[in-house]
Symmetry: C2
């Protein structure tokens, strides 16, 4: 009855994505795996894994290690610190992994693997497994493969859950103008079905935070826009901040997600829904996961008082007043881009101007947005794009669209090579604005350390093996007219193969939200 | 009397080299500094810092952190794990730094900085300092700047040192054919002056290990070649292994430094000299640093019996028998390259074929070799080349020469851009052999995971802003004749600006030492 299970097959069947790519892939497919070597490989990936930990992305990190015998003997092997300590690196990973297990014993390996996969998925955070080389060909009991791993969330204690639901409904029914604000953890902890139902059923004005972009169907009549304190449009800010009850779902109130801690919502008018607790005003309910609570609220809430006087901005955003100026500005580009997007697009934005610019883009239905607003590692988006584009290919999603800056792109540009190698078809926009614009706004507008070496970005495609018009295509756009022509180009928009666009924007131009956030950041740093 | 000391000036005056570059720079200049940001920046550098720790390279790592107030308040800032813990990353670095200090208090900051610099230099390992943004403009007592930091090694206890010297001399004087074997720690712990004197004064056959390459003047008549167990030439192996007394200086007997643990030297005929102890046969003398011991041995040793019957291989190595075959093989290239090298060249080799091939190159005087044989992080050499070339520029050294493989080069290729930006003039050889040849020999000669995407490597120079024949030059060599022509090209050899050479070699060709080491590695992995 037993079948054998060779771990070499397991690891080889997982695509050996680098760290950022594994993160991007997991955000599309739900989970991913990363295979690295001991020491040098795993440490090269630790920044990416820390990002996945910070932002709740489930990545199974498998580290190939020296044999259990070599480790027991403390051999002086390459990829070690030369001190015979083979646990140094796993100890580092304990800080950024929700499970760390060593597969040193065939009798427990299968159990540890199943546990790691389950914890990874349920907690939506990285796990870390070591696979010594002498374990690769060990045989283990295969019977357990007949039982799928239980990936369901543990149910809340029902009496407690019902109590919380009653408390929430009590406040919801007396609220005069409740609003919903959806943030990153709604995506990462998988309550999007509930969020969609809540937004549709309640009709309540529904907003997203920057990290929550993509969590709400932005074509809904009651979708209200992006709320981020002082970084919001005036109409959005007024409506959210004057609400007497904010249903806050999966919030992460980080500096860059709140335009520098500029929320003006009282906890006295807030109900927070999280994966590990619910908080109603100041009453905390630990160990109550939001998913079940939200489902019951939706089922029982009936008709709400949604207030009046707010017309949600659910039409395409207004663009800059037309002028003869041809310069591509952030104020013009990001709203304009809304009309070019299509349902189901995957949109990836890099830390920098793109992550703030995207606030001004209105998405069609079913767009998935990927960004790294909390961890904010420069170069992340290009790596994540590789993984996301691979996941898109596997899922039959047509378009994966990346917006990165020239400075950021320089850190992980070789991911283009991997995309070409695997025949992925992303559309890569490189914002060419001569350096680190976000850093200029934080410190040193004209400082040399914010300048970069200017590259011929589009020529990289040929260097990496792309053949123009056959397996790839490149573009340069320097004016609004050229952007319009590009967006009207049906072949471009059809994404037949990898395409790279050099998008020229002024060095000192930035989205308004970025300027506000940078100012708040500077104020915060100046506090003594 | 006091002057002020602004830390911002300190950090800005240090070149913000990425990790591998900081390592390469330190190996040439004696110490270096690396400035990163909190979280994302430092974790991107942790692999490089671990390499510097493993291989005893002094790098001062300065991390710019959020303000002490933000940290005390546990603010939810970007570049954090979102849990209010600002010590996670410094705790990781404690494993790979000999000092970790937080500059949170102006009253102790200067002391902590001086201590870190001293420990970094004396222990020859990385140190880690955090600099919160609110500390940057703090004023501190400047009086201490008038006293240079004492960077001298602590003296050994003299009675103990004399005792050890007497013991060593006793064995040395009765030895019939003593030899000297010089390894990496002789370089890293700065006993090269003593090594040079010992080799010259004693006239004893003197060998280097692979990691010790460059530690001995290879034009000395008694320089014998590279000893690495079974990876050595037969004449070298015979002479070292038949010696009745091996003076082993700064050894690191790692797998790749010993051709897979194939040393055949008895501890009964070995005296080990180290930075923290001396060991004579099985007698250990802790806390006795080799430097003082070696100086006294040189002064007192007199004439040694250096045996007979060994003719040191101090002429240029024999190359492959001349044949009509034009293929550039490792067996031909590395010995041939000896004649092209010049005194004072800096030669950097990447983990892979280059690190083994260089065993067969005979150096002119005063060549500095850089490699990472113990840590072995792929992509290291190109980064290290950037730092080394910068150090060379500052020191007026003309040539920095890099040998890397195509697979390795792909990981850190953008360092070329930094080299162009800073007008550095390295000669970069990219060995184009279609992938990871060293990995093919370890596992999977024809496996797809050892293949790479083929790039147009030399075209990267133009992409990164180099102008052919004005600020850079590129070459392709595919035959022995083309190599000869290149080496005869006086302008090429003069290194007027950055030059990149695509050097085509067969996919499955490798230096003999690599093949032997890979076989030993496989045998070791197979042990149950």
């Amino acid at each position: 009855m037993s079948t054998t299970r060779h771990y070499i097959n397991l690891t080889n069947s997982l695509f050996p994505l680098p760290g950022y790519a594994a993160d991007g892939y997991a955000r599309i497919k739900g989970i991913s795996a990363l295979v690295t070597t001991f020491g040098v490989g795993e440490l090269s990936a630790i920044n990416a894994i820390a990002g996945a930990y910070s932002e709740y992305v489930p990545v199974v990190h498998i580290v190939g290690t020296p044999s259990t015998l070599s480790q027991a003997d403390g051999m002086l092997l390459h990829h070690t610190l030369g001190n015979g300590d083979f646990n140094v690196f796993s100890n580092m990973f304990r800080h950024v992994s929700c499970v760390v297990s060593m597969l040193n014993d065939p009798h427990e390996a299968a159990t540890l693997i199943d546990n790691a996969i389950r914890e990874c998925y349920v907690k939506s955070r990285p796990v870390y497994l070591t696979l010594p080389i002498d374990m690769v060909q060990q045989k283990v009991e295969g019977e357990r493969l007949r039982t799928p791993i239980d990936l369901s969330f543990p149910l809340n204690e029902q009496e407690k859950e019902n109590y919380v639901v009653d408390v929430v409904l009590k406040y919801l029914h007396v609220a005069k103008n409740p609003v919903i604000v959806v943030d990153a953890c709604a995506i990462r902890h998988r309550v999007l079905d509930e969020v969609h139902q809540l937004a549709e059923t309640s009709g309540s004005p529904t907003f997203v935070t920057p990290m929550g972009k993509g969590a709400v169907n932005e074509t809904l009549p009651n979708y209200g826009g992006v709320y981020a304190g002082d970084g919001s449009r005036a109409s959005v800010r007024d409506r959210v901040e004057s609400s007497d009850l904010v249903l806050s779902i999966g919030s992460i109130k980080s500096d860059f997600n709140t335009a520098g801690f500029t929320y003006r919502i009282s906890q006295l008018s807030t109900i927070d829904f999280h994966s590990t607790y619910v908080r109603v005003k100041y009453s905390e309910y630990p160990s109550v996961r939001m998913n079940g609570v939200l489902r019951k609220i939706i089922a029982r809430m009936g008709r709400l008082n949604i207030g009046a006087g707010f017309k949600p901005n659910n039409t395409l955003p207004a663009v800059e007043p037309e002028s003869s100026a041809q310069t591509i500005t952030h104020a013009w580009f990001w709203p304009r881009m809304s009309q070019w997007l299509r349902p189901k697009d995957i949109v990836i934005t890099e830390t920098g101007t793109a992550n703030f610019g995207i606030w001004e883009t209105l998405f069609p239905a079913d767009v998935t947005a990927i960004s790294q607003v909390l961890w904010g590692s420069i170069g992340y988006a290009t790596g994540a794009c590789q993984g996301a584009a691979l996941a898109a290919k596997e899922l039959g999603i047509n378009r994966t669209i990346l917006f990165t800056g020239d400075g950021s792109f320089q850190l992980t540009a070789q991911e283009l090579s991997t995309m070409i190698r695997h025949e992925l078809k992303p559309i890569v926009f490189v914002i060419c604005n001569d350096g680190y614009t976000i850093e200029r706004y934080i410190h040193g507008m004209d400082a040399a350390y914010n300048d970069i070496q200017i590259w011929k970005y589009k020529d990289l495609v040929a260097v990496f093996g792309g053949v123009e018009d056959k397996t790839a295509r490149t573009f340069q756009v320097r004016s609004k007219t050229e952007v319009e022509a590009l967006f009207s180009d049906k072949e471009f928009s059809a994404a037949p193969f990898l395409q790279l666009v050099e998008l020229y924007m002024p060095k000192e131009d930035a989205p308004l939200a970025l300027k506000l956030t940078a100012e708040a950041n500077t104020r915060n740093n100046a506090k003594a």
